[in-house]
Structures are given as structure tokens and as C-alpha cells.
């Protein structure tokens, strides 16, 4: 079932309690409620404050390097032999991924609220690097929580964060990945709630985080919309973005939600294959539950314990997803699909060899699906892939998979 969304309906979401239909909300322990309610109120004020918005726009232009190009992947399109494939180049953002759009927004928010200590969780390390970067830029103390397994997998990003002056806390609990990093960041926040601002990196978490991350990331879709009209004279026929927590996807999709002709595809990590159970695809294979402050699709066992996830890409290795995606799935506005580790690697090699653009392994999932999709479409149609990040951070993983020692 698909619903026609109007601007009016969209502006009413999330509702006053942070709900997107049955999803979202604020499921946290009492100690955090006051801070979340204050953040919600202050953000509502600053969202309308011309000074705050002007400062944010200036940072996006001069520090992040926006607008990022919308690039026609001519060779890839020709080889694929279907729709024209265009790339939204978020990999060209400062720090090499879309994450910085959000961290600069939230760090400005922290500064306006007078909070000097920043905490963040990270999976692949991209959000950690983007947070450490803006903290250096604004002179804020920075603590990044990262699962011990991810610290191993993404040693380059760990070193980058340290160079930027951040303290990296290797989280030993649970599965030692992103979800456990988020648990420990929440624990730190409860203990230091007076002076600390928690910069959440994805569109999940308790209200108002899914709202503010979506607002900060929506610059991706707004630019894409304008650029597509300029360069192709029409809106794209399809948008494709990878979905872990879903921040780059929501940033791309949101400004197009009322454009019924634009098909939206969120690509989850299929890991070793959905039927093996070793994946990170809650929208494709999970069910609704409550984790990390919001109700959303989750990977869990029959007793409600959160399941271990698997993906070749650390940034997608998360058992939940932003609540707005859960809502978009249930109302049928967006399609959620998955590609396996192997298919993602194929997408990584293809974009690297054919266009000279090395995508992050997260992004490679979107690339792999978009190539399949474009092949089924007509030559006068257009597909935009959100190239959410660059692949340099994944060189070690790729080399290891190919049996090469660097």
C-alpha cells in the first residue's frame, strides 16, 4: 500500500512526542528525559533562528565544501546499459563522508547551548572522525565510543580521531560493535548530563535526534533536487542510498517524499545472505521493537534479545534503523532491499575501475543495487546514487578480503 504524502502531512511528522506513525518516540531512563526535552525545545527555537541557520549554511559552504557535485557517471551508465546513473558526491565532503553535515549542525547546537564536552558513538569511524573534526574546529572536548572489534577493523580512523584530539574509548561489552558503542555513549551521557552534548550519528535514538539529524542531512536531497532539475530538466526517477541507521538515505529521500514519481530505494547490508541470518537488514528481515530510545524495526531473537549482526561494512553493522525509515517502509513510500557482502565488493570494484571513484563499503551496497536497478530501466530515465562516503578507510578490509598484505 502506498500513500500520497503531502507537504502538510510531512511537516506534521514527527508528532509532538517524536512519533512517526507507530515508530520513534522517547524510550530512555528518567535521568535523560529533562535533557531531551530541553534539546527539543531549544532546537525548535534555533531552527527558526536566522543567526543559527546562517551560521550552519556558512559552515556547510566554507568548511564542508558544499554544494557537492551531482555527477553523470557516463561510462558506468553505458556499461550498465539502462537508465542514466548519476552520483551525488557526498564523498567529496570534508572528512570524506556525509556524516559531517550532521556533526557540524549538532556541534553548533552544542555551542549555542553552552555545552563544552561532546560524546559520540561510531561504527566505521566516519561519524567519530566527523565529530572529532568539528570539535577541533569549535574547540570542544571530544570523546568517541567505538566497539573494540570496530577499533580493530578501522584502525586508520581511530588514528585520525586521535590526531584530531579526541579520546577514543574501545567498548568491550556485548558484541563489541556499533550498538555497544551506543550503549556506552548513553551511559556516559547519563553520568555527565549537565555539561555534555551527545552527537548521535544516525537518524535513530530518542526524539528529537531522528528529527534533527534528518534536518541537518536533508541538504543532500535539497541540492540533488535542484541539481537534477538544472542538469536533466526533470526530477530523478529513482534514488538509491545505503541504510545502516539510515542518515544518508533519509537526507537524500526527505526532500523528495512528496514527489510521487520518484522511487526511493534503501539498501541494507545482506551480509552472507538474508537466509543465513548473518546480515544487518532489520527492515528486510526484522520486526518492530524498542532499542536505543526509539521503536523501530530491529534484528532480535524470539525473546526480544538484540541479535548479533554481520556486514563487511562496519558502518552498516547495526541491528536497528531510524524510525522514519520504519514508517516509510510500512506506508510503502520507500522500498527496502538488501545486497550481500560479495555483491557490495563487486560494486566497490566496479565504481573504482569504471569511474575512478572509490566508494566506502557502505556506499558500495547502494552502488551494487543501483546497477541492477538501472539495467531494468529505460535509457531516458535517471537513477541517483548517494555516494555517502569515500573508500580509503576500507583499504585494509578490501586488501584482507583479497588476501593481500599491505
Amino acid at each position: 500500500m502506498s500513500v500520497k504524502l503531502t507537504e502538510e502531512m510531512l511537516s506534521a511528522l514527527p508528532d509532538a512526542r517524536g512519533h512517526f506513525g507507530a515508530f520513534g518516540g522517547r524510550f530512555v531512563s528518567e535521568t535523560l528525559m529533562d535533557s531531551l526535552m530541553t534539546l527539543e525545545k531549544e532546537y525548535a527555537r534555533l531552527k527558526k533562528d536566522p543567526e543559527f541557520q546562517a551560521r550552519f549554511d556558512k559552515e556547510l559552504a566554507d568548511y564542508v565544501g558544499r554544494p557537492t557535485p551531482l555527477y553523470f557517471a557516463e561510462r558506468l551508465s553505458r556499461e550498465t546499459g539502462g537508465a542514466q546513473i548519476w552520483l551525488k558526491r557526498e564523498d567529496l565532503c570534508h572528512t570524506g563522508a556525509h556524516k559531517v553535515n550532521n556533526t557540524i549542525g549538532q556541534a553548533l547546537l552544542a555551542s549555542f547551548l553552552g555545552k563544552k564536552r561532546i560524546i559520540a558513538e561510531t561504527g566505521a569511524g566516519q561519524h567519530g572522525v566527523a565529530t572529532a573534526t568539528v570539535c577541533a574546529r569549535l574547540g570542544l572536548e571530544c570523546h568517541v565510543f567505538m566497539g573494540a572489534e570496530d577499533v580493530q577493523r578501522q584502525s586508520l580512523n581511530v588514528f585520525r580521531m586521535k590526531l584530531l584530539g579526541a579520546t577514543v574509548h574501545a567498548v568491550q561489552g556485548g558484541t563489541k560493535t556499533l550498538k555497544d558503542a551506543m550503549n556506552d555513549a548513553m551511559r556516559d551521557w547519563v553520568a555527565n548530563v549537565d555539561d555534555t552534548f551527545y552527537i548521535i550519528g544516525t537518524v535513530a535514538g530518542p526524539h528529537p535526534y531522528p528529527l534533527l539529524v534528518r534536518d541537518f542531512q536533508s541538504v543532500i536531497g535539497r541540492e540533488t533536487r535542484r541539481q537534477a532539475l538544472e542538469k536533466t530538466g526533470k526530477l530523478p526517477d529513482a534514488l538509491v542510498a545505503c541504510v545502516g541507521g539510515g542518515s544518508n538515505a533519509i537526507g537524500m529521500f526527505y526532500p523528495f517524499l512528496a514527489d510521487e514519481s520518484v522511487e526511493l530505494y534503501g539498501v541494507e547490508a545482506g551480509g552472507l545472505g538474508i537466509d543465513t541470518g548473518k546480515h544487518a537488514a532489520p527492515l528486510c528481515a526484522g520486526r518492530p521493537g524498542v532499542l536505543h530510545g526509539n521503536r523501530t524495526y530491529l534484528m532480535e531473537d524470539e525473546n526480544g534479545q538484540i541479535a548479533a549482526t554481520h556486514s563487511v561494512s562496519a558502518g552498516l553493522d547495526y541491528p536497528g534503523v531510524g524510525p522514519e525509515h520504519s514508517w516509510l517502509k510500512d506506508i510503502g513510500r520507500a522500498h527496502y532491499v538488501s545486497v550481500t557482502d560479495d555483491e557490495a565488493m563487486e560494486g566497490f570494484r566496479k565504481l573504482t575501475r569504471v569511474e575512478g571513484i572509490m566508494p566506502a563499503l557502505e556506499t558500495a551496497h547502494a552502488v551494487a543495487y543501483a546497477i541492477k536497478l538501472a539495467a531494468t530501466m529505460d535509457k531516458d530515465q535517471t537513477v541517483v546514487i548517494n555516494v555517502s562516503g569515500r573508500g580509503d578507510k576500507d583499504i585494509n578490509t578490501v586488501a584482507k578480503l583479497e588476501g593481500i598484505e599491505i
Binding site: 528518567e30 556485548g174 532499542l291
Partner: protein, 270 residues
């Protein structure tokens, strides 16, 4: 009158304070939990808070996180925890039992099925750490209809308006989290707790239990002096961790820990 309300009224009539120990069900093994619950009662417990293990206990420190992991290794499920209470009730019909945990295992079981099973087993109250009253519209009425007490948390950051609103949603008692932090973390500031609990007493008629940071007879007495009951968690769970290999020794260790707290609380009796 619920079993919790009855127990707290009786204590109040005697001028005594409630001793409320917490252990995680299934830790160190599901087979010994019921036995440990009886041990807690013999050592002086008035109410038992029985933790439902969860894979991602965000509000807990390392001690209770590890207890959850030990319980989950043996596959301890919410259904099994309810079964433990049913077993406990066969030989103890007096001591109130509160299930304390996170929302997702209840959601996975189905709220109505959970409420029915809990009531049937003899559970008395439900404390869901990550469920503020704002999100409890669907769940709380299912508890109320079955005379299960819904116990909510108050914290040092809770405003007066919220204290009033939360108290209205609560029954049995309210649980005041004495510190900003996770379980088992910082040490308690008794003067601050006294001031806040005194203030809470002005805003609600419900009994106030205080938890987080109570680790010995001295802190129990200090907090008992200003509240209606003390909740003791991490120090017990840590004792379980250190004595998990030998159940008899573990029971002695738990008794040795609780006894002095019981005596210290009773020495306050007016």
C-alpha cells in the same frame, strides 16, 4: 490492596524501612534463582526486585551488564523469569516481587500475554527502565487492570511537574534514582538525596524507594533515614559474580551482606 502496598503499609505502621534487594534472574544460572530469592527473604528482604536480563542494558553499569550476559548464556528468557516467580510463590505467598527490566523483551512477548502471565505467576509490580510514562499509554492500563503495580523512576533531573505526573501514573512506590549515572557507578551524596526525597514526599503520597549507590549498612541507614525503603543492586550482583562457583557459599555471602543492612535499617525504627 496490592501485596506491595500492604507490605509497605505494614512496615510504616511499625516505623520500619523496606529493604529491597535486586538480583538478575538467571545469574549465575537459572536453576539457582528461586533458591537465591528465598535466601534474600531469609536475610531480611521485604520486597524483591528481580531483573529480567536484556542484551543491551543501557542504564546499567558493567556489574549488571555482566550479570545479564551470564544469564543470557543460559538462554534466560522473560517467560522463564515469570516461571521462576511462579516457583517462588509455591513456598512464599507474602514477599512482593517486582520485575525490573527493559521494554523490548516484554514487547517481543506481547504486552497482554506478558501481563496475564505475570499476574498468574504472582508478580506484583513492573518497573521498566526505558519506559517513561509518556510512552506507557498502551502498556500501563494492561498492568492496572490486573492490579499489577506500575513503578516508575524519578531522578535528580526530574522537574516538579514531572514528579507530579509520574507519581500519578505510579502505584506501589516510586523509585528514586539517587545519582546521575548508571547502576553501580558513583558514590551517593546523602545530603542531596535527603533534600530531593524530602521534596518528592511533598509532591506525592506514594512511598519512595531509593536506589543506586547503596552498598553497605552505613549507606543503607543513611538513605533509610530519609526514605521509605532502600534498593540494593550492584553490590549483591557483584557478590554473585564472585561466588558463582559455589551456591552454598554464595547464599552465605548474600546473607552476610544483607543482614547488617537489615539491622541498620531496623535500628532506625522509631
Amino acid at each position: 490492596m496490592s501485596r506491595i502496598e500492604g507490605a509497605l503499609k505494614a512496615l510504616k505502621g511499625q516505623g520500619r524501612k523496606a529493604l529491597i534487594p535486586y538480583i538478575t534472574a538467571g545469574d549465575p544460572h537459572p536453576d539457582v534463582t528461586v533458591d537465591l530469592m528465598h535466601t534474600l527473604v531469609e536475610a531480611g528482604a521485604d520486597i524483591i526486585e528481580l531483573g529480567v536480563p536484556f542484551s543491551d542494558p543501557m542504564a546499567d553499569g558493567p556489574v549488571i551488564q555482566l550479570a545479564c550476559e551470564r544469564a543470557l548464556v543460559h538462554g534466560t528468557s522473560l517467560r522463564q523469569v515469570i516461571g521462576m516467580v511462579k516457583e517462588f510463590r509455591k513456598s512464599d505467598d507474602n514477599t512482593p516481587v517486582v520485575l525490573m527490566g527493559y521494554l523490548n523483551p516484554m514487547e517481543a512477548m506481547g504486552y497482554e500475554r506478558f501481563a496475564d502471565a505475570a499476574k498468574d505467576a504472582g508478580v506484583d509490580g513492573i518497573l521498566t527502565v526505558d519506559l517513561p510514562p509518556e510512552e506507557a499509554d498502551e502498556v500501563a492500563p494492561l498492568f492496572t487492570e490486573r492490579d499489577l503495580d506500575a513503578i516508575f523512576l524519578l531522578s535528580p533531573t526530574t522537574t516538579d511537574d514531572r514528579i507530579r505526573a509520574i507519581s500519578q501514573h505510579s502505584s506501589g512506590y516510586v523509585y528514586y534514582v539517587s545519582i546521575k549515572g548508571v547502576t553501580g557507578s558513583a558514590s551517593i551524596n546523602v545530603d542531596e538525596v535527603a533534600a530531593k526525597v524530602g521534596h518528592i514526599h511533598e509532591l506525592t503520597a506514594l512511598p519512595v524507594g531509593v536506589g543506586f549507590g547503596i552498598r553497605d549498612a552505613e549507606t543503607a541507614a543513611a538513605v533509610g533515614r530519609v526514605s521509605d525503603g532502600v534498593i540494593v543492586g550492584s553490590v549483591l550482583v557483584d557478590t554473585i559474580a564472585r561466588n558463582q562457583a559455589d551456591t552454598d557459599q554464595l547464599k552465605r555471602a548474600l546473607t552476610d551482606l544483607l543482614h547488617p543492612m537489615r539491622e541498620a535499617l531496623d535500628s532506625l525504627a522509631s
